[in-house]
Amino acid sequence: MAGQVTSCGGPLTGVRVLEITKVWAGPYAGKMLAHLGAEVIKLESSTNLDEMRAYGGVDINSAPYFLSINQEINSVQVNMKTEEGLELVRQIVAKSDIVIDNIRPGAMERSHLGYEDLKKIKPDIIQCSIKMWGNGGPLGYQTGYAPCFAALSGLFNLVGHEGETPMGMNMRHGDSTAGALAALACLAALHHRERTGEGQFIDLSAVESLSSLVGDSLFAYSVTGQIPQADENFHPEMAPHGAYPCTGVDWISIAAPGAAEWQSLCEVLDGGNLAADPRFATLGSRIENHRALDDELGKLTRTHDAFELADRLRKAGVPAFKSMNSIDLCADEFLWGRQGFRMVSDHRNGARPVIGPSWRISPDGPDVQRGAPLLGEHNEYVYREILGLSQERFDELVARKVID
């Protein structure tokens, strides 16, 4: 195992992260740090698997959900239900910079892996714990899934069609954002440690993570006293601003921030007749009559192909883009061309497409190439190289299913 590649290079090279995580938010935090070059070690156990290794398949080593998140992650097995297993975890903690978990409230403490415990093992450890409501507090016992975070956060209430029950973003939104914010907080703490030598505990609330995405609306309520509402696609300072029907089931998004964009939009769509309508003469009147404006525009866009119209509008200086469906996205040449989608290694098929990181960093940027790990793929690396166990000791721990 000597010389095994355990990081994709990049600015966090040399930083070691231990993750005790499941499902999405926690693993996503690990992925963010791994895709910036950290060596991320995921603790796993065959008797207590990340559910993502089970969803959508029977082979725990090629489960679609797991493969789509855990690129550049290193997998080490340990049976955390045994005292010997927990002792191994503590030895790995002693060699780590950051520990991230998102398991049930109280579970880390019950395994003696709470911050006070970890600090005794490694005084400058940075520990980040992700929970729906954060750690402790009067409602800390409550649990839920991403749409629950959104509902509690204030974000959900701000998304919906006019006159209907608020419906939030798509129900898949939320876990990954919380994970990204956890990664961010870990790096802020890492800077503090570099400067002062001091580690710390980070307590992350998934609910508040989504509240932070509507921070300006929450602040506006405090300042103006007006409770913000779901507003469909309305923009108080821009009209038109919305999504308009095209041919088939397609939609196009169009925004006209000022007079120039409005004029160009009218010229592309109908040779300028709309521009002559007194209801739409100024930005102020367009905002005031935005419902009528949306109706008129919808009549004009309905006969157009969304891709072609968006292209013509953008070239005419009007902000526009097709509302992309999942076929459009998967086939998007621009995204493939700039490696927004990219190939990584895959144990079963040789290669697998994944969604690449949002960053390009140069020089010496990270290069995401390794697909998700087999269960225990990095056992030897972690136990033999990092912890320095003898081959005999390692074999014996495997035989007794402490490493399992």
């Binding site: 600015p11 966090l12 930083v15 996503y28 992925k31 910036l36 679609p64 493969l67 998140i69 954060g134 649990t143 839920g144 899934y145 749409p147 509902a151 204030g154 209430n157 701000l158 069609h161 608020p166 798509n170 898949r172 939104h173 990954s176 954002t177 990204a180 956890a182 802020a188 503090h192 002062t196 505990f201 609330s205 609910v207 995405l213 929450l218 602040f219 309520y221 405090s222 300042v223 913000p228 696609n233 108080p236 601003h241 919305g242 089931v249 902000p319 509302s323 992309m324 469906n325 999942s326 076929i327 998967c330 995204l335 700039r338 927004g340 969604i355 990181p357 949002s358 140069s362 010496d364």
Partner: protein
């Protein structure tokens, strides 16, 4: 003490994407100097406005300083260069044409300041067609696929939605920008070297849906034109109750038996198999369940009923409004909202950060700056 004490960040951004990146770092205690053109950042003029000040600007620029420089004028340009010479990082969010015009391309900045971490966040990243770089946040959220699939269960004849407020794409992108910047600054501490970071807002949003969209990319799930392609199915959705709305998440037998108990085991619920959520979750059953549940929940109040639900193992929660949050006991216990005096607004509460750092908590140090309030900073060095 603050986590990022000692770091100096220059921000020449003029959109929420770049300004939010700077805000995240300023909240951690970095010294963030916002360089604004004469007349100020366009975000100063965005609403809502109270007592002559933009509320949005005051949120996005909390804890920062402001320096006014006309970088087209050589004297001011020299001041900018001196600022960059002593800064750790530069945050920008303009398109490439602007960068060329202002001699702030990645190559020019790297040549003049090899120690500097230089980040530019744009809708589609560097190299995108020039006209793509000038789109609005609603276009980015539509380009990313999130709008087409939001909310869950939207029928074909209803428009895709932009998300909450005006700037979801900007805020999500600000998180990745701040994250990549802190990673590169970590390297700067070790090597003294700078890097260039190119962030695509569209790709941030795509990355956030990794385990749903990637299974389509890999051919494990068919991509489609369906508005529901990202949905999970099942009865989960929001319902109107007596004083607002609740959200019910329910996928297991345990959830179902917990909910039946909570409702007092009504007759209509007896018609469902105990394990229907796992093995008999047909559209017809979902419709029947929602009809029965809807009439029951309509008479309940959101806080008491959701607390009772949680204690019965049911993942039902209140749909909170902005007014509910500052008085919510968990938000209060965590101190998410912090009160401060604002020179124009008076007493206000700021939403702060979702992470509590035990040694270096996020703090409100100063309100957003008046235009040019810190011009003296540009005279130093």
């Amino acid at each position: 003490m603050s986590a990022l004490e000692g770091l100096l960040i220059v921000e020449i951004a003029e959109r929420p994407a770049g300004e939010y990146t700077g805000k995240l770092l300023a909240d951690f205690g970095a010294e963030v100097i916002k360089v604004e053109p004469p007349g100020g950042s366009p975000t100063r003029r965005m609403g809502p406005v109270k007592n002559g000040q933009g509320v949005l600007f005051n949120y996005l620029n909390l804890n920062k300083k402001s320096v006014v420089l006309d970088v087209a004028v050589s004297e001011d340009r020299e001041k900018l260069e001196r600022l960059l010479a002593r800064a750790n990082a530069l945050i920008d969010d303009h398109d490439e044409v602007w960068g060329e015009l202002h001699r702030l391309t990645s190559a020019e900045v790297a040549a003049a300041h090899p120690h500097l971490v230089h980040l530019i966040v744009t809708p589609f990243g560097q190299g995108a067609p020039a006209e793509w770089q000038r789109v609005e946040p609603i276009n980015v959220i539509n380009a990313s696929g999130w709008a087409y699939h939001s909310p869950s269960e939207t029928p074909n004849d209803k428009p895709p939605l932009k998300g909450p407020g005006r700037f979801l794409a900007d805020y999500e992108a600000g998180i990745d920008s701040a994250l990549a910047l802190l990673a590169s600054l970590h390297r700067q501490r070790k090597t003294g070297q700078g890097q260039f970071i190119d962030i695509s807002e569209d790709e941030v949003l795509l990355n956030r849906i990794d385990c749903v969209l990637d299974r389509m990319l890999a051919g494990e799930v068919e991509p489609s034109m369906d508005r529901t392609a990202y949905d999970m199915g099942g009865p989960m959705t929001a319902f109107a109750c007596k004083d607002g709305h609740v959200y019910l998440f329910m996928t297991t037998k345990a959830h179902w038996t917990g909910l039946c108990g909570l409702m007092g085991n009504p007759d209509w619920a007896e018609e469902f198999r105990e394990d229907w959520l796992e093995f008999d979750c047909t559209p017809e059953n979902v419709r029947k369940f929602r009809a029965g549940f809807r009439s029951w929940i309509a008479g309940q109040e959101k806080i008491p009923i959701t607390e009772a639900a949680q204690k019965s193992g049911v993942a039902m929660v209140a749909v909170n409004t902005a007014a509910d949050l500052p008085v919510n006991e968990q938000f209060i216990a965590r101190g998410f909202f912090q009160e401060a005096d604002h020179p124009a607004f008076g007493k206000v509460v700021y939403p702060t950060a979702p992470y509590k750092l035990s040694k270096t908590p996020v703090k409100i140090v100063r309100p957003a700056p008046a235009l040019g309030a810190d011009n003296a900073e540009a005279e130093a060095g």
